[in-house]
């Protein structure tokens, strides 16, 4: 009988995160103050983030110790299994081996708690009592609620009102972990009150929710803001995914030819890919593939430049691929991939051609998700279907070439709380979206007016 699962014992869990800033051929460009156009100083961020996380943001040492207190919480579900999808290989009739790293087994159902727990810990030891954040569909809000709960911090989540009303389950999950989740725009901030005064029925937006969460944090000495993707320290915390995977592959004398992850902000991709990217930089042959929706083709079609991280222009200029901070992606169901930019680290590595990119249309991703569920059993998140679709593509290519390729993808989350997209697909109600060239042209124009990296 064949073994599907490669388990790592808890004793073997990585004790350090991997910091790719130590190994990048071209170092990251600094974030800029949008007012002065000058590089941001650590102190500029002090009202928003605790200094220990700001230090991690700019750290350049190759490995950073994972605190014992963080490890202890991660061990509630880590190490996660590396699994070989024999059934899918057989279904596709491919000579390729398909492996996935199962990040869906966390209490919140995705990879997000890896950084939520670390961020809650660093804020706690810095003396912070309360974290604020925004959330769209609720994945990040629930992860941060869990992290705060495990370290005894208060957590305030501003949830986009339309999701708050339509997706009550994620909100209840946040309440389970003791968080205070309010619909945004809310009456709790000046910005929220102003929006509500103009439009009492505003459905909210992620940009508005970010503005509320930041305003709340900077106006309170004991509070800070927390972000679930994009930033360097978030990518760092997620590298435990790839570091575990490397140990698991080593235990069976395997190594992947291609490593695949979906990209919204970039954290689950960075988490699985960066440790392998280090090998690549050192000369190892391995391909890293970032997959995004054609509806929001940041890495495949967007320009590389300086842009705001949020719609409301509250963040510094970040050096990244971006469709423009004012870009409004079509309403695809993979909400976590509807981000106009991509993490500066991921962007720089794409710019340097160390990471390959691919955009996949919505129907193909849902088809891949349904096939996965019917062959492997598990229902994956709409975001994760992008990685599944790319893995299937690679396996079919290997079949054509008659090549025994080893494919790895990050199964970043389960989909049992996000079934409505699948329902629409099964009922033939989903459509593909392809971004018109004129929209890409607009983003080029916008970024050309900002400072150039």
């Amino acid at each position: 009988m064949q073994e599907n699962r490669v388990n790592l014992s808890e004793r073997e869990i990585p004790r350090q995160w991997y910091n790719i800033q130590a190994d990048m051929p071209n170092p990251l460009k600094p974030p800029l103050n949008p007012g002065t156009g000058k590089p941001l100083q650590p102190d500029d961020l002090a009202p928003v983030f605790p200094m220990n996380l700001i230090e991690q943001e700019v750290a350049t040492e190759r490995f950073i110790d994972i605190p014992e207190e963080v490890l202890e919480k991660l061990l509630l579900w880590r190490p996660t299994p590396l699994v070989r999808a024999y059934a899918m290989e057989e279904y596709l009739g491919t000579p390729a081996k398909i492996y996935y790293k199962d990040e869906s087994v966390s209490p919140a159902g995705s990879h997000k708690p890896n950084t939520a727990i670390a961020q809650a810990y660093y804020n706690k030891v810095f003396g912070i009592k309360r974290l604020t954040t925004e959330t769209g569909a609720g994945q990040w809000g629930s992860a941060l609620s869990l992290g705060c709960n495990l370290f005894g911090l208060e957590c305030k989540v501003y949830m986009v009102r339309v999701s708050y009303d339509q997706k009550p389950y994620r909100r209840i999950m946040m309440n389970m972990w003791g968080a205070n989740c309010v619909p945004s725009p809310s009456e709790d901030t000046n910005f929220g009150r102003k929006v509500l005064q103009e439009d009492p029925n505003s459905p909210g937006s992620l940009g508005m929710a970010i503005s509320e969460a930041i305003e709340d944090a900077v106006n309170s000495e004991a509070a800070r803001y927390s972000l679930g993707s994009v930033l360097n320290h978030v990518m760092l915390h997620q590298t435990i995914i790839g570091l575990e995977t490397q140990k698991q592959f080593a235990s069976i004398n395997e190594y992947p030819d291609v490593v695949i992850g979906c990209v919204g902000g970039g954290s689950n991709f960075a988490g699985i890919a960066f440790p392998f990217l280090r090998d690549k930089i050192e000369g190892k042959e391995v391909e890293l593939l970032a997959v995004e929706p054609t509806a929001c083709p940041t890495l495949t079609r967007g320009p590389f430049g300086y842009d705001f991280g949020d719609t409301a222009q509250t963040t510094p200029f970040l050096p990244m691929f971006s469709l423009g901070h004012n870009f409004m992606p079509p309403p695809i169901h993979a909400g976590g991939l509807r981000y106009h930019g991509a993490a500066p680290l991921v962007s720089q590595l794409v710019e340097d051609e160390l990471v390959k990119t691919r955009a996949i249309n919505q129907l193909q991703t849902y088809e891949a998700g349904v096939t996965w569920a019917r062959v492997q059993g598990m229902i994956v998140a709409p975001e994760t279907t992008h990685a599944v679709a790319a893995a299937i593509d690679e396996a079919l290519k290997a079949k054509e070439e008659g090549r025994e390729k080893t494919i790895l993808f990050n199964l970043s989350g389960h989909g049992v709380m996000d079934l409505s997209g699948y329902e629409a697909y099964l009922n033939g109600k989903l459509t593909d979206y392809s971004l018109p060239e004129e929209d890409v042209e607009k983003s080029r124009e916008l970024l050309s007016k900002h400072p150039q990296p």
Copy 2:
């Protein structure tokens, strides 16, 4: 660092199920034909179940081989982890060790697929093309959809209409796995049409849905009916849970003092308890504890006698504890525990005082569920909170006694698709239910009119 998880390698997965009928001090009483009062013959069941499962129902050999084809599908998620809840032990300040067997990791989120997959397989090799079943909240319907999908059978699920309307996610899950799920009463059966003619807005009931599913199966040569609990072969298929757990404990030189499971029909309890019960019958000191809601106290207060398995009186008389086939339990949120009877095997073992029982009130179970989520991270199913509450009780008793006790419970399912009960609890909207003595008296009267075991 302490290890939380005891993993079993796939090579070590049990190759046989354990059949407790081989070891019971008092053999099971036979099911009776309600018309004649005479023991049922295997052929009587042939229109409802395939003969290979009927043979398993009456088998008395101690071990029954698990077919390779079934093992291969179970390996998609099995063996499941045995986990030590260090964080909860520390939180409670108890000298007890708390272990749980995590059955929530299956694609459907509970232990139910263990038997769904076996039943689909046996029907398939018997030449059956289509299975029918009923489902309330959708746990069993989704598990059988998965099982049928993996073996290429059609699956028709009659889902109680009020749940069909209120809980669309479980229905979509069934569709994901290719099943046809219709609200019951439906236009697809004589019984359903009759009900709808009398009341076009009937909310349906589990009893009605069973009647529709059985009518559909017996009227079609290529179809059979499938049940997710109560029957002997269902208990048999679930014993893989306890058999794996025994191997996992052996690998760390541990053995439980008490084994806990919640009981609705009885299958998750039987699954974890029966292999340990064999040890007990052979003289080992171990306590088996079946936990039920005070709102539906079948084992703790119901009489032991012959009763129908369903409200609509379509089944044979089964020898079991029962609150009466017409008993309507209060609307507690643990829908899977709202069954008027209990599996004949579990009932006989309770009657023989080999299994202890305990009823727990709704508020205590939700309090336990919230505590579990905040300390251990994971959100468990409302049914499972009964086992969690009993495990916490046992751990606190051990603390009082200063005793280093080893506690094991079956974490039968996750709760991320059943959060509304938690929301009601957190908002102070849940109440306790205790069954009035006159209701228990009514069930004694009813069962006294049936044949006596």
